[in-house]
Subunit: 83 residues, 2 copies
Amino acid sequence: MRKVTVYITLKQGVLDPQGKAIQESLNSLGYNEIEDARVGKYIELKVEDGPALEARVTEMCDKLLANPVIEDYRFDVEEAWGL
Amino acid sequence: MRKVTVYITLKQGVLDPQGKAIQESLNSLGYNEIEDARVGKYIELKVEDGPALEARVTEMCDKLLANPVIEDYRFDVEEAWGL
């Protein structure tokens, strides 16, 4: 069993209202050192090991997990689940 | 300027309907090797460097970014923004 961690972020230049709201909230709480905030998704997958693991995870990202129009993704395959 | 990446995940044992939906969708697309999926938030902060940077980011997570009842968080402080 492998652990795959997928990171999905908005492409550069795509407006991030959620990030903007976080930045403004932090500034209003007195954390003026925060200049920008970008929010993305972080998905941990528990995957049965297999020969074409990386190719299939790429397919999963392209087909379902990320929106190719506005999002970029990358993923890490870790040795084993739970370590 | 520093880049701080915050990872926010649901605590173990907290139901993750979004993760469940992703797992079932991937299985229905034929990716039966997916046994579990957990979804979290991933926030990139652009932060003016300062003496108590880590302590203040911890405060930001406790006060705003993470819900301490159902979420865990960790963060990485990177050398400089944009590298």
